[in-house]
Symmetry: C2
């Protein structure tokens, strides 16, 4: 069975693994990235980490998932808060040169989407739209096992979709941006507006809703509808076979997800009802998805 | 130079042409479709029409554009108001068998989008989102010269995207569906609400706006903003290289388009500003796009 190397490069850690073409992780290791040392030093650390993996020499190629907007054609980071010294450095070219194996990179959300599309909840589906609902809200379009990054790597910046223009402006995002109305951060804010300091995080609001609190229930009901408006926009643009939904907020799927899906189905044409919603299922979508980058490109 | 046959099958006419791979139409003819005669009779008429074209024998393949939702994999019409007797008939298989050439079919809007993406305003661009603003509002996603039809042929049903949930419900479409707020039909309705029977069509409202009428100007201003919200949703989902915009309402582009684009650019991330808007430019996008179906599939 063919094997590939997947790398998850973050501001704190670098994780790397040898992954089989069926998505099984054979060997995984991690080390600190210490990005303040500069690009060359981080690259050397990444190369050493890969070379410490059992079986790395037999791998067909290397894929990397990295936070922020990525220039996938040039293999460079465009913008980064956690890895500023790596912006513009030819990461993919460096790794390809060092290992003499094909190397690819993409944004970490897009790579996780690819992992779910190829080996996870979207397996076997031609058009997968991945949505992560967490601190923020992001997404990625995967068609025939290829991530569609968009002209500027911004395909999937769905957190900025306006779901109601009558809301308040909070930050750089649009008025009524779904990320400001239905993310974990938004639910925490709304909970604190109603319940004050009793609310530490979105989970506290979901707990209150579960226990039957009407005001918490209203927050959750609004969230379900707001998310449905966002899913409806995506659905009418690409009509996917499956929405794969992940992110920390899915821990509360029991309180909002059926409501959301019911609203969604009332907002789409009859002919679109065959779409399915699935929860993201991989333990390590980022590492597996990174390894799927060379696998799906080299076919 | 290679040549392909493009067919535009409608409820009134069938039009067919021999089209060069550079998009030039070599020979085009039309005849009545008379669909009440049934599927076989329409197919025989189509075959005769194609065989009347100079050079049809030298063509590499046949592409057909047909209104309504199309099952592109099976080569059948799913739903049709104008061609009800052709629903479910294996159109592509019939034509492929008759001519012993590869045959493909897709929805007429998607085929026009392909024509614009390959030979028109989107030429050379990897990700093209085509939007037509006419009686209704529709769209199509073309990636690397392939139409992304979606699971059910509904990718591009963007007229149903909600741009403001505070609007009225008019029909089967969503509350605030952009088609009910910014299409030619919608502008006519809004004009009649203000000006009564003086308004025969959307062009009358645009004329009043051009002449400085404030109430007509308000209708156009709202339309520009509503369209920008729709474009913004599409932009955040797929981040295209270019929006190609066609349809009859573009005859009034001088009164609304710059406003729309300005609103759009205020609604997207800085990193997405390199997107361009272009007006659809082909005289015959449907015929040329239909011919591009076999050309782009056979590569």
């Amino acid at each position: 069975m063919k094997k590939y190397i997947g790398v998850d490069l973050g501001g704190t850690n670098i994780r790397a693994a040898v992954v089989q073409e069926d998505g099984q992780i054979v060997c995984m290791k991690k080390t600190q990235s210490r990005p303040q040392r500069g690009a060359e030093a981080v690259m050397e650390t990444m190369a050493s980490l890969i070379e410490s993996l059992d079986g790395w020499k037999d791998c067909e190629g290397i894929g990397m998932g990295i936070p922020g907007p990525i220039d996938t054609a040039q293999g460079k980071i465009i913008v980064s808060t956690n890895l500023p010294k790596l912006i513009g450095f030819p990461i993919a070219a460096y790794i390809q040169e060092h290992f003499q194996k094909p190397a690819y990179m993409d944004n970490d959300v897009k790579v996780a989407a690819l992992g779910e599309a190829v080996q996870g909840a979207g397996k076997g589906m031609p058009i997968v739209y991945y949505v992560t609902i967490s601190t923020g809200i992001g997404g990625a379009l995967v068609i025939d096992q290829k991530v569609i990054s968009g002209q500027n790597g911004h395909a999937g910046e769905i957190g900025n979709i306006c779901i109601d223009r009558a809301r308040e402006k909070y930050n750089i995002l649009n008025v009524g941006a779904v990320e400001n109305e239905a993310s974990g951060t938004a639910i925490t804010r709304k909970g604190q507006e109603v319940f004050g300091d009793r609310i530490q995080n979105a989970g506290d609001v979901f707990d209150l809703a579960r226990s039957g609190d009407e005001r918490a229930g209203k927050i959750v009901e609004d969230m379900a509808y707001d998310l449905a408006v966002m899913f409806s926009a995506i659905g009418h643009v690409v009509d996917p076979h499956v929405f794969v939904v992940g992110g920390g907020v899915m821990k509360a799927k029991d309180v909002f997800f059926d409501k959301m899906e019911s609203h969604y189905r009332s907002m789409i044409h009859d002919g679109m009802q065959s779409v399915v919603f699935k929860e993201a299922m991989l333990e390590e979508p980022g590492i597996i998805g990174a390894a799927m980058l060379p696998m799906t490109r080299l076919r």
